[in-house]
Amino acid sequence: MGRKLLLEHINVPGINTFEVYRQKGGYRAVEKALKSLSPEDVVEEVKKSGLRGRGGAGFPTGMKWSFLAKPEGKPRYLVCNGDESEPGTFKDRYLMTHIPHLLIEGMIVSSYALGANTSYIYVRGEMMPQIRILEKAIAEAKNAGFLGKNILGSGFDLELYVQPGGGAYICGEETALIESLEGKRGNPRIKPPFPAISGLYNCPTVVNNVESIAATVPIINDGGEEYAKIGIGRSTGTKLISASGNLNRPGVYEIELGVPVEEFIYSEEYCGGIANGKRLKAVVAGGSSVPILPTNLILKTVNGESRLMTYESLADGGFASGTMLGSGGFIAYDEDQCIVRNTWNFSRFYHHESCGQCSPCREGTGWMEKVLHRLEYGHGKLSDIDLLVDVSKKIEGNTICPLGDAAAWPVASAIRHFRDEFEWHVTNPQEAMTRNYGLAHYADPLPKVEPVTAS
C-alpha cells in the first residue's frame, strides 16, 4: 500500500469537523510552525521537500515562495487556487468537501511562511456546497484560536476569506484569478510583472493550488526530508489523481509519485482495470490540456521503459511521444470511444472558455472547434486535418496565457497519434456516423527503437 499523507484519515467519520480533525492530530503543523519555526524555516522545509505545484505547471513551491518580493510597508498575500475547472480534474473539490481543515491548516502554515496576514481561498463559483463547508471550517478554526489575532500567542495574525468565483475556467489562471478577486473581469494579466512582485492589489502575491497548500501540512509535521523520501527524483511526495473514464473504479486516489501507469490502471489498489472487460485505447494523463496518448505510448516510453506516474516519466519523449502530469486528471478511454469526438468535445470547451483577449486564442479556438465538428459529423475534408495542425501551431506560444497552449495541445496530439482515425472519418463518413473506429493498432506493442548508425 502506498503511503497516504493527505487522505490518511479520509474515512474517519466526522473528519470534516474541527473536533475529529484535531483528535486525529490536526493543527499540529500550525503549532509546530508558529511555536518552534521561523517563517524562513518553514520556507526551507518546503524547499527541502521538493514539493512541486499541484495546479498543473509543477513549479517548485519552495522556490516560488522564495521569489516573493518583500518591500517595506506593503502587505503580502497568499491566494489559494480552488477554481478547479479543468475537465477530468476533481481532486481539490474532494479534498475541500471531505477534509476542509487540512486546507485551512495548510493556509495558516503557508501564510505564516510568507508573512501574509490576509489570505484568500478562491473557489469555483459552481462549488457552493464546498464554499459553505470551508466557511464553516474557518469559523470553527477561528473559534479554537487558530485564526484571528495573535494565533496561539505567537503574535501572528491571520484572517482567512473564501471568495466564490464567477464560474469561468479562465479564472483558474493565476492572474485572471487575481483580477477576479479584485472584482474585475477575469482576464489574465500580461506578464511581467509576475504576481510575486505585483499581484493582488499590486502587492506581492503567491497563488497556490489547494493540494499544494494541503501538502505543506505533512511537510511541516514530518519534515521536508521525510517528504522527499517518497517518490522518484524530482517528483517527490504523494499526488492526488482524479481518475475517470472507462475504469472499473474511478475516483480520487492518493498515489506515491512513481507508481507505474500500468499498475495505476490495472491494480486492485487503484482503478481496477478497464470497465466492462474492454480494452484500453487512450489516456489523457493530466487533465484535458495535456497531450492524449494511445495505450502503447502511455504504458511504455518509446525506449520500452515502463512509464511511471511522475512529472519526468510522463513527459518523456517530449511532444512527440510524451505527455504531462498536469493537474492529475487521469481520463481513460476504452476501445469504444471516438478520439475525433473527444477532441471536438475538448476544443468546444476551450472555445467556450477563452477569455477573448488575444486574437489567436479568441478566433483560433472557435475555428478548430468548427473544423472538428465538421469532421466528427462526416462533412470533413482530408485537408482539414493539416489545417487543424496549422491552426493549433498558430495559437501555441503566441498567446497571453497558457490557455492558448492548452487548447492547441489536445488537438495537435490527437492528430499526431490518431491520424488514421481522423482520416477514416473523412473517407468513410457514413460508417463513421454509425460505428466507432475501434482499437485499431493503438495498443500494439511499440516497435523496437533501431539504433541509428552513422553512415
Binding site: G356, S359, T365, K393, I400
Partner: protein, 334 residues
Amino acid sequence: MSEKVKVTIDGITIDVEAGTTILTAARQIGGDIVPPAMCYYSKLQGSGGKCRTCLVKVSKGSEKDPRPMPKLVASCRTTVMDGMEVQNITSPEVIEARKGVVEMLLINHPLDCPVCDQAGECHLQDLSYEHGSEATRYEFERRTFDRIDIGDKVQLHMTRCILCYRCVYTADQITENRVHGVLGRGDAAEISTYIEKAIENEFSGNVIDVCPVGALTDKTFRFKNRVWFTKPVDAHRDCPTCSGKVTLWYKGEDVIRVTARKDEYGEVEEFICNTCRFDKKKTDDWVIEGPRKIANHSVISANHYEQLMPPPVLRTNPALREANKEQFERTTKL
C-alpha cells in the same frame, strides 16, 4: 542623466532610455522594422499585449543573460534590456506567426470595406495587405451583430470590432466609473456600455479615433464619403476644453468630419473634445494651417483619391470587387 541601454533590432542598433519597450525602440529607429500594433496605444495606460500582431523574436536576452527568450514576445509590452537583440522582419518565425495573427483577426471581420467608413484609414486593411496571406481558409459563418448607438453621436458596429480594448482604456481614462467595457467571453465577447448609454464625458468622441477599424464611427459623418475622396487639412481653434488642434476633412467646400491629428502609427497627437469634433463643422470656426501630411503606408496617401483602388482584402473576392466598383462609380459621379 537617465540610464541608456543598447538594443539591436533587425541588425540596427540604437541607444534608448531604460524601461523603453521594444516597440517604442523600433519606432525610434523607424521604417520597415517597426512591428505593426493594433491594440497598443501609447496614450492609453495599460493598452497593448492583446492583438499579438507586434510579436517579435528576442534572439539574445541581454548582455548579462544572453539566452534567447523561449517564445515570441509582444514587443509593445516587453521592455528592452542592455545588449538585447531582436528580430522582427528578419525572422521567418515572426513573419509566419504574424501571418497567422492577421488571418485570425480577419476570421470574424466582415470584408465590407466598400461600405465601411474606415476604409482607407483602417489599420486592419493595411495590415492584411502587408502581412496577410492571399485568401482566408476560414469557411464558416462570421459572427454578426446589429449596429447600436452609443448616445446620439457614436455608432458601434460590433461586427467589425477586433477587441483591441483601446476604446475601453479610453473610457477608463476619461471617466472615474466603469461605463464602457467588454461583455461576454471569447469570440462572443462584445464591447458595450450600460444599456447603450452614451459615455457622459466631453472627451467620449475620442473612442472613434482610437478604434483601429471601423467599429466605432462618427454618426455625424457616416456614409457621407469614403476617406480617400476627402481632403484632410490641419486647423485649430481657441477651445476652452481641449487643445483645439484638429484635422478637418473636406469634401469640396464642406467640412464633413473633424478628427484629432494622427501620427504615422495612427495614434492621435492629443485627444480633442466633443464640441470640436461634433459641433464645429464650418470653415469659419477654424484657423486653417495647411494640408495634413498622411502617413505614407496609408491608402489615402498613395494618391488613391481619384482612382479605383480596391483594398487588398477585396482583390480576391469577386463579389466584393464588384460592390467596390459600384460604390466607386456612385461616389465619383457626385
